[in-house]
Each structure stands twice: as C-alpha cells, then as structure tokens.
Symmetry: C2
C-alpha cells in the first residue's frame, strides 16, 4: 500500500491490518456522515473520554463547548487529543462465538488541539458544527451575540495524523464450523430520526421547517 | 444530594451540574441499554480512544479483544482507563444557535483495568459480553475452544468511580428569544436494527432463530 501522509506508527492499525485505511477520502467520508465524536484527553495521567459534536472545514475539525468547561480548558492548553468517530453498521453472527464480529467504520484522529482565537474562524467553525448536525439550521435561528461567542470556546484539530478502520461483509468462520447447524449472518444496525416534537412553548402559528420535517440520519 | 460512592472530584460533572448523577442505578441503566463503549487509555502521553463492546456482571464491566492487540496489551499492564457509553436521544433545536443542545445519556467510568486470569471468570465475562450484544446467542453458537480462549484477553474494570450525565426535554431559550419566529423543538434520535441477512454460505435449511428475527435496539 502506498504510504499515506495520515499514517504514522501511532495511527497504524496493528490488529487485522487489512481493515486499516490511511487515505484522506476514507477518513473524511466517515467524519462527514457523523456529527458526534468521542474526544480523549489526559489530565494528571488519567484519560477522559467525552462525547461531543464536531464540524469539519477542509483538513481541520472543530469542537466547541463552554469556555468554562473542564474539557475545553484542558484542551485549549494544547495537550494531545484523540478524536474518534464510530459508525456501527451491523452485528456479525458467526457459527463460532470466537469469530463473532461487528461491521463498523471508525476514524481516529490524533494531534494537538488549538484554541481558535480569530472571531471569523470561530463563527465559521460554529456554523460548520451546526450544519454538520442539521443542515439548514444555521440560516434559521438567532445567531450568536458577541457575548455568547465569548462564552464559547472553539478548538481546532488538523486532520494530519489519522486512520480509518472498516469491516464489512458476512461472517468468516473456520472451515471446521461450516457444517454446524448454527445460523450465521449479519443484523444491520443504523441510526434513525423520529418525528420532530415542537417545543411546548412554541407559537402554534410557526410551521415546522422542511429541513426539520425531512431530517434523516 | 447525598454523597454517592461513585462520585469523586474526577467524576464530578462540573459543567451544568444538574445533569450529573452519581447513583449506581443511573450509571447501570445507561450501561445496560448499550453494548458499545469507547475506551480511553494513554500510551507515551498520547490518549487513544477505541470503540469496543463490553458486558456487565454486577459491579464490574468486561471488555475483550485479541491477546495480540495494542489496546489490550497496554490495558493489561494496569494503566488508567476511561470507559464512556453514550446514547444520543435527540437534537434540541432552540431559537438561538447558542442554546442548541442534545438530549443524551452518557456514563463515564474511571479506573484501572485488570487482566482476567481465572478461566471461569473469563468464560463468564465473554458470555456476558455476548449476551449484552445479542441475548440468546451464547446458547446458539459453537463456544470457545481452549486455544481460542488463550488467544482472547479479557479485562475487568470495577464500576467504583463513575458518573452519569443526562439531558432530557425541550429547548431552553432566553426570554428575549421567545417571541422570535424560529421553530424550536426536539428531533428524537435512536438506533435501529434492520432485517437480518443470512450468510451467503449458510445452509438454506437452517432457519433464522427468533432472537435474531426479533432483535431490536
């Protein structure tokens, strides 16, 4: 396989190497079909893993949070982070317990998060996060005031050291198990969006926007 | 609030404290409605966050993997870990961009993972992981051989330092925004299981078991 710039000894998939991908397209396609990531960081030797939303602009991802939050304060100091995005696509039922698996697509990005100080980049990052979650919403809500922007921290992480890990397809059993009587196959898994529930305080004259009504995952 | 044994300065929810819960029931109910977690650990100062399945027996959770995997080898050395389980329940659309949120239930467990050496505990842990993913399967597949058990590492993490963080309900906007024309409400999110796909190599005489056909999330 051609050496990719995203591949380092730290992002190399060591376990079942054929599942590892290091091209930008593989990583970006996993990122772009998600908006939730798990961010790992270390404080006093203890790792913390926190779910949060993210957005992507080009070769950077952005996460945001309260300027007062423990995670953001720690990350803004430039410590090492790991951002992981996972899609669970199916349960893989093999004939043997040992060969059970899951179909999934996951991306891991390593690096140093940096605090975004430029107000224009900060606003663009917040728009990117919002549009990653629900396209169309940014143009249809009250945008942040300068006071609200000050209360929000945005962090930038370059997509420069990363990997994707992907499993697809049916179970793979040992030859000796192929004649067993156990059912084998895949149960597909996915996410779904339900029917939107208006805020009880919403003026009933306000109609549901199309991008909300037709929202899907 | 009564002091809970799961609460420490490290698990205390600092940002929006009313969303933090430290009772065993809150944590366990979040764990028991999931089978995927994100495990955080540190190697040479770099955090890694890896998705993996888990199982619970009493006040311990178990994860497993190849004895050869980087994660398992590192964790087996007794380093600190963070196991995070996240359910995303909804997008919360407020009138202001700033007050947008998500409904979620997440649990965070901190501690030191320990390698399970007792063969009986190891087998029970693997059964617990399997049953957490798909109840009924353990009794309907070829169980691990002693060679397969040797190739599998199982780690135990006590649920002794943990927290749950939960948000539910409609958006909360500033008073000044309540008369705006923007739609506000919640888009519920969840997981779904599709129709099971038999292995192309499956003997067509083998019927789909009920626990597969009726699998739901």
């Amino acid at each position: 396989m051609e050496r990719s710039p995203l591949l380092t000894s730290r992002t190399k998939v060591k376990r079942i190497p054929k599942r590892g991908f290091y091209d930008r397209e593989s990583v970006v396609s996993i990122l772009d079909s998600a908006f939730l990531c798990h961010v790992g960081f270390v404080v006093d030797g203890q790792p913390y893993v926190i779910p949060t939303s993210f957005g992507r602009i080009g070769d950077r991802i952005y996460i945001h949070g309260s300027a007062a939050s423990r995670m953001l304060r720690n990350l803004a100091e430039g410590i090492s982070v790991c951002v992981t995005v996972t899609h669970l696509d199916g349960l893989v039922l093999a004939r043997s317990a040992f060969n059970h698996s899951m179909n999934y697509r996951s991306a891991v990005i390593l690096g140093q998060a940096e605090l975004v100080v430029d107000p224009q980049e900060k606003l663009e990052a917040l728009e990117a996060i919002s549009e990653q979650i629900i396209p169309g919403r940014w143009a249809d809500c009250r945008l942040p005031s300068s006071k609200e922007l000050k209360a929000t921290s945005v962090l930038r992480l370059p997509i420069s050291e990363a990997s994707a890990k992907i499993r697809t397809g049916p179970p793979v059993d040992d030859d000796d198990d192929m004649s067993s009587e156990f059912w084998a196959g895949v149960i597909p898994l996915g996410s779904r969006a339900g029917k939107a529930v208006p805020d009880p305080l919403l003026d009933p004259k306000i109609k549901i926007p199309l991008y909300v009504e037709e929202y899907s995952l």
